[in-house]
Symmetry: C2
Subunit: 336 residues, 2 copies
């Protein structure tokens, strides 16, 4: 059995209180006793029990992170920023894979509540009423990452998707493309689906280009759906010279079916992705994409969350800057 503070106290011939004061270095003991006690602590290999501490302080120094999947390069990068930053601030992170539709979210919220996490980060998924209520009841600080809520005033950190999509599209236009297809996210995804679609449409309009519904298709941000989307686009092959794809994974899917049909990117058509996950650099050719500062977003989320934990009040949201990363999948063409 691991030694407790009591064991230390006995062996060092002092009271429990004194040991406690020493390990938390609070005043109230002589240099002599301090040394004596510390010696005993070393010898016995004593480590304070975090549960007992947490029980008293009502703080666990642990946060919960809810992700709709762990395996996407998108989530990994986010998680990476979160975990790193949390650790630097002496917090541990419990990861919760809620599943693609967030099915398990409620289950996870229950356990996070029982485990008394100090804060929760909900990533990449809408804040449903039931989630909000549960978290409200739990009374745990919450921040949305790569997500936001119109209904509830919960702080969030994300990029401006509509604007980023606008810029991506404009970038294509500036490179001489006038016939532009889009592989969008789901139409009823109001977080990442619609805004990117709207940004795309707006950019087209602002530059006097008309919308061709034939060449707008919808996926679910995943690689496979990028493949099927591209297959839907293939029949309209001559109606576009570039595609704006709403995620890097889908872009990869699109490029891979193109390649199976002997279509080369960017020679046969250009592609710009979205996210700048690490597969964008690994792609052949490297994928031009709009970067979300994923790691940084994770860090900011943690910083804000900790601020909420410390000073009970709610906090301002953050819109992070996006950026077009020029690589090799967009070709400059003469305007028609």
């Amino acid at each position: 059995m691991k030694p407790t503070i009591k064991d230390v106290a006995i062996h060092a011939n002092v009271s429990i209180s004194t040991v406690s004061r020493i390990i938390n270095n609070q005043p109230g003991y002589s240099e002599a006793t301090k040394e004596k006690v510390e010696k005993v602590i070393k010898e016995m290999g004593f480590h304070p029990n975090g549960l007992a501490r947490g029980l008293i302080h009502k703080k666990t120094h642990t946060i919960g992170v809810l992700l709709p999947n762990i395996i996407s390069s998108f989530s990994s990068k986010l998680l990476n920023g979160i975990e790193e930053s949390a650790h630097e601030n002496h917090f541990s992170t419990i990861v919760c894979n809620t599943g693609p539709l967030g099915n398990r979210t409620l289950e996870y919220l229950k356990v996070l509540g029982e485990k008394k996490v100090d804060g929760i980060i909900l990533t990449s998924s809408p804040l449903k009423e039931e989630y909000y209520k549960e978290i409200k009841a739990l009374d745990i600080p919450l921040i949305l990452l790569s997500s936001m809520s119109y209904r509830y005033s919960v702080p969030y950190v994300k990029v401006d998707d509509k604007q980023a999509a606008y810029h991506a599209t404009r970038y294509l236009i500036q490179n001489g493309h006038t016939k532009i297809a889009m592989i969008s996210g789901s139409q009823d995804d109001e977080l990442a689906g619609m805004p990117r679609y709207e940004g795309f449409i707006k950019a087209l309009g602002d530059h006097g280009l008309s919308v061709n519904e034939n060449i707008i298709v919808y996926g679910d941000f995943g690689f496979q759906s990028g493949r099927t989307s591209m297959e839907q686009l293939l029949p309209f092959r001559d109606e576009f010279t570039a595609i704006f794809v709403a995620s890097d994974d889908m872009a990869m899917g699109a490029i891979s079916v193109a390649s199976e049909h002997s279509l080369k990117v960017p020679d046969d058509f250009s592609v710009i992705g979205y996210d700048n996950t690490h597969i964008a650099e690994m792609a052949i050719p490297p994928l031009t994409t709009v970067a979300q500062p994923l790691r940084e977003m994770g860090q900011v989320a943690i910083a804000k969350l900790i601020e909420m934990i410390n000073n009970q009040e709610t906090i301002a949201s953050a819109i992070m800057a996006h950026e077009i990363i020029e690589r090799k999948t967009v070709k400059k063409i003469k305007s028609t």
Copy 2:
């Protein structure tokens, strides 16, 4: 303030003990009181405090997972299996990104110890003496995942790297290749570096092929190092027709520099990777590789860990089956 069991007891006009018995459904109360108490629990939105419970039971239903990085597709897939399986068994997972060299391992072990996790999974990194001692002192069940220890008898789950490498190489040979290069992991990595190298060498020998040191280069399993490794191989371009690469990420790096030099895979040379992470399927062309059953390995690790947690004794290790996944980067050629 969240209600405690005491509040519930008062409002329901029963003792704390009765409430406790009811929420843990142990016998000792009438149907009437049960309903009364459950009603109060609902109304007050009471949830038992996990810390207090943990303090008594000396169980937190939490495990710690140490990973050398979170962002690689390799780790993600492992973590995915772990988290999923842990959740199914009512365990939460704390992730710890120890950094590429495992620098932060000791720090993390300390906090895992204080947080009283029920078990620890150490992935993809050697069990150094200091780690072992710390964990031993903490007296927490440990399992190695995609790792093992010659020195300490700690259960592990991994694939047989030497054999898998042997098979990968043999696969190349069976496809008619006789001049085979290797992009290996680090030479002083005795976990994944050496065994794969040895398997490669042995396969060559067993099939009467000689070893050409010119075309064996060393990376660190990452994408970038795959790139630089390939650059080292380029001058010896005509001394090989195929490359066995010790990780998919490095394979991607290799293929991408090849492509920059207008060398096509598999037409100009074949490539077989290692891991079967999801980038292998996303690659163009899709990467032939030797699969480690990563998710399954995570699951098995959890199963074993839980077994160790429940019945104090140590447990047998598991060697998981690997498999060659044939995709498009290996060309069958006539033997010379």
